[in-house]
Assembly symmetry: C2
Homo-oligomer: 449 residues x 2
């Protein structure tokens, strides 16, 4: 089994089927899983998507729209459907998914959808729309299986079966008191295994991990990953059970956070959509490039101060670009390792000190190795051993600075509360460029001219 | 609730308790969850860890060792324990966790541990040790709940309760025929809800996702994420059920893959341990730096060819570093967005073409904007409008090349089967450096001198 990848054959089959009648199209659709149709949807025009949704059973149509990527804009598809089909689909959807999709629409469209659907569903979705989408509240599903702590085995099982009618899957059963205050969790296994007269009270596990609705989704992901949880309950300040977050929602959060990390470390705004248009990409990247241009002028102004050196030894301007560039590479390596360490766990003072010292040593050794190569080139190719010495010292010095700043800048930023991934690379490049230009030029001006 | 972060207070409490007697230490340990103790272990010496493990119940000690990070080397702790305690712990461990830990030891130590434990457990672990740790087989747990398709409701429930005695949690029940061939899945809910005389045969879902034991773990993660699965069964070529992979194992895979992606894109070997020593870091990074040095010489050789231009217009050597640097930044942005898109889904030819065209446009617009700023500086600061024109053209040209290469190189590498993250950044930097040096020097030599 391979993960499904869109392939021209599949797309061609669907497109050919779209030219035929409904019965033929339905035959072809039967061969695809809902999440596969969701992927194929990224390549189809709006009319085709609407026609396919109308042909699918409500169950499958709901799964398809639920599985669509946020960037494929399921809300546009939903609002384009005829109201009756749309209502069936929204009523079938998990509350958290429906909320995510509906939240992308303007107030008027939201209103229209919510007025048509079952009023109990509408109330739940309206409540979820109030939470920030990056928090536990925005992530949670309010459909949970929950039993009163005073029930006995038989009553609890009946209750679980009744509540699970509307849910596809459940993992954990939540136990609440008469005021809906969360008291603990119990597994279906423990209930089945219990003696006939056992009370839920005696089966409940009261030591469990929960989150408040306001907690940031990244923190929720850390908890789920750290405690190996399948679901986590969400409560309000009075410990009233509001809903649950399941691990599959967290996987989507982790993928989004990963994308953010890689974009931020590369100087792209974390909000840029990967498949967005060029205007948005310019808006997301130009500000960062202009800041970089400013720091590049700063580094270049160092070169201007050594005008005479450059005129008298033009070859130094070729070498200094090499030394500055190698500093940038070394710093990027130290930065990536340090940023990743920070994002996986917090470092104690001692660990932070050790990290910086390690990167300094790595910079020294890598600097000396690369310095020797540059020395050899200057010695044999330029026949200028003194230039070789200058370059060896400059390379070693710059790579020490690179290791030092690559490790210490993100650690410092983290301590003062700035996201290390977003601000580090511009600061360290400025350092390695400035030192990378200054060292060879200054040493050459002292030792060679 | 916050995710647990080591804080000096916790560490100090444990360290103080370690100076007291066993009873006091036990009191303090009671307040920590097993996964919290696992994190504290990263800061404690071997003797302290062994003493703590000996004081904990087998259940908690097992959880602590199971939760330890790979880089904290749980295998060293395990092999240091006295054989009786060690045997209890290994027997209590999930097979997949035990296999991961034991696989880090040398053959002799592996042998010693496996000889002491229950022979059924040892056979299962030995079987798992044969799978590559990056595949479905290496990730799977061989403990599954599985029932024969010919059982009825009552028999199936008894069987599930019997098998679940040894498992903490289970989600999906696998259904096999008399030859252990996987026929489908059934949920505990469906079994409980079924009529008394119902057969498993009538309840089984035969449309399910499974993987072969050899499948790469990244593909397993994609499937679990795409189909929103909690577990996935692992089978051999004859569809015989070998085990299952649960979503919490996949979260660890995703974190590891994520670390790899960030390291590779920054020129660090994917195998470098984040908290490894400096010697290993040098080994992991020096080769990449030396290759970069080679390409830097290539770019610098362009500057050598314009010796006369540099001598006559020393200020150009300051400006060309700016233009080359801005090209590098622009290409890195395009690269990050493209690499991330590729790793999340495969692009069709049309999408690939659109991506390259979009990045070309973004490069053009960002190049013209930054080019205008550089023009203004040359015009007002250097009082040299012609130099300004040269720099404007060079900046725009280099940023077009940067967008073009940043998007197309990873796409090309992907098509020819090379990991885009690892090879792209060195190739695009070479391009943007070469063009970034050549354009201003060549234009200056033609238009200014």
């Amino acid at each position: 089994m391979q993960s499904f990848e869109i392939d021209k054959t599949d797309l061609l089959r669907i497109k050919t089927a779209l030219e035929g009648n409904d019965a033929e199209l339905q035959e072809v659709l039967k061969e695809y899983h809902a999440s596969e149709i969701a992927i194929l949807f990224e390549k189809l025009p709006q009319e085709a998507k609407e026609r396919i949704i109308n042909l699918l059973s409500t169950q499958i149509a709901t799964d398809v729209i639920s599985e669509m990527d946020e960037e494929a804009h399921p809300e546009e598809l939903l609002i384009g459907l005829d109201p009756e089909k749309r209502t069936e689909i929204v009523e079938e959807m998990d509350y958290d998914v429906a909320t995510d999709i509906i939240s992308q629409l303007d107030k008027e469209d939201q209103q229209e959808i919510l007025e048509d659907i079952d009023q109990e569903d509408a109330t739940s979705i309206r409540a979820l729309l109030n939470y920030d989408e990056d928090t536990a509240g925005g992530l949670m599903n309010s459909e949970v299986i929950c039993v009163n702590i005073n029930l006995d085995k038989k009553e609890a099982l009946d209750e679980i079966i009744r509540q699970s009618e509307e849910m596809e899957e459940f993992y954990t059963i939540y136990v609440v008191d008469d005021n809906d205050i969360l008291k603990g969790i119990v597994s279906i296994k423990d209930i089945i295994k219990a003696r006939g007269e056992a009370k839920v009270r005696t089966l409940v596990q009261t030591d469990f991990v929960y989150v408040k609705a306001e907690l940031d989704q990244e923190e929720v992901a850390k908890l789920i990953s750290q405690y190996n949880l399948t679901t986590i309950p969400v409560v309000d300040d009075q410990m009233k059970l509001l809903g649950r977050i399941t691990v599959d929602d967290i996987i989507d959060v982790m993928e989004a956070e990963n994308t953010e990390d890689i974009l931020k470390i590369s100087g792209v705004s974390e909000d840029e959509e990967l498949s967005g248009n060029w205007q948005d990409a310019v808006k997301s990247r130009l500000p960062w490039l202009v800041i970089n241009l400013g720091t590049a002028f700063l580094a270049a102004s160092i070169i201007r101060n050594f005008d005479a050196t450059v005129k008298n030894l033009a070859v130094i301007s070729a070498y200094m670009t090499i030394i500055a560039g190698m500093g940038g590479n070394t710093a990027t390596q130290a930065l990536a390792v340090t940023v990743r360490r920070i994002s996986l766990s917090d470092l104690s003072d001692r660990q932070a000190y050790n990290t910086v010292f390690k990167e300094l040593l790595v910079g020294l050794v890598n600097g000396a190795c690369n310095g020797l190569i540059v020395f050899a080139v200057a010695y044999f190719y330029d026949a200028n051993p003194m230039l070789g010495l200058v370059l060896f010292l400059a390379m070693t010095g710059n790579l020490i600075v690179a290791g030092l700043t690559g490790a210490s800048i993100p650690l410092i930023l983290k301590r003062v509360g700035i996201d290390p991934a977003v601000a580090s690379s511009i600061i360290i490049t400025t350092f390695t460029d400035c030192i990378g230009f200054f060292l060879p030029l200054w040493l050459a001006s002292k030792l060679l001219l």
